[in-house]
Amino acid sequence: AQSVTQPDIHITVSEGASLELRCNYSYGATPYLFWYVQSPGQGLQLLLKYFSGDTLVQGIKGFEAEFKRSQSSFNLRKPSVHWSDAAEYFCAVGTGRYSTLTFGKGTMLLVSP
């Protein structure tokens, strides 16, 4: 069965600094990978997804992620963090185009002034 590990429970970044959130997955074949963001009291919003092709994926709100098969990773990055980015971020893996998703436990991003 597939699984997702997000090693960092909390991360604090200064506003304007760069951000990288780590995600490692376990799955035997090519995974379908997603990053979602959840603001307090809100549902999850899709930031970006990877199915195939270019391993560097651009998403909404200035986020990008890079799929590295050799490292089983799909890390999320943003060059300059804004205070409004403070939220919880979830990485998820699917086994097929319309499969169910397995989520990681999430990383809480705090942005300091």
Partner: protein
């Protein structure tokens, strides 16, 4: 386009009581999901519907949880009787099977507290 609607947003009940949650997916979305999100964890799939049929309910505690999707649109999730460990946010999501892969659109969730 209206998003996924859920009600109620909050519910507090005593253990052993029953509770029901309602979800209205995005119009035209054939696939509907119910997730349970316990504090500090990621969402865990409870059940997936394709139209009004169940695709995956392997993680649904069937002794106390039930779900239905009549007419392939709205869905209800019921817990009877509730236990303390059922305290969580229950998220409903929907997706279209017509292209775009498995992008799931989530509702705001129902926060359940069992006392």
């Amino acid at each position: 386009e209206a998003g996924v609607a859920q009600s109620p947003r909050y519910k507090i009940i005593e253990k052993r009581q029953s509770v029901a949650f309602w979800c209205n997916p995005i119009s035209g979305h054939a696939t509907l999901y119910w997730y349970q999100q316990i504090l500090g964890q990621g969402p865990k799939l409870l059940i997936q519907f394709q139209n009004n049929g169940v695709v995956d309910d392997s993680q649904l505690p069937k002794d106390r949880f039930s779900a239905e999707r009549l007419k392939g649109v709205d869905s209800t999730l019921k817990i009877q009787p509730a236990k303390l460990e059922d305290s969580a946010v229950y998220l409903c999501a929907s997706s279209s099977s017509r292209g775009g892969g498995n992008e799931q659109f989530f509702g705001p969730g129902t926060r359940l507290t069992v006392l």
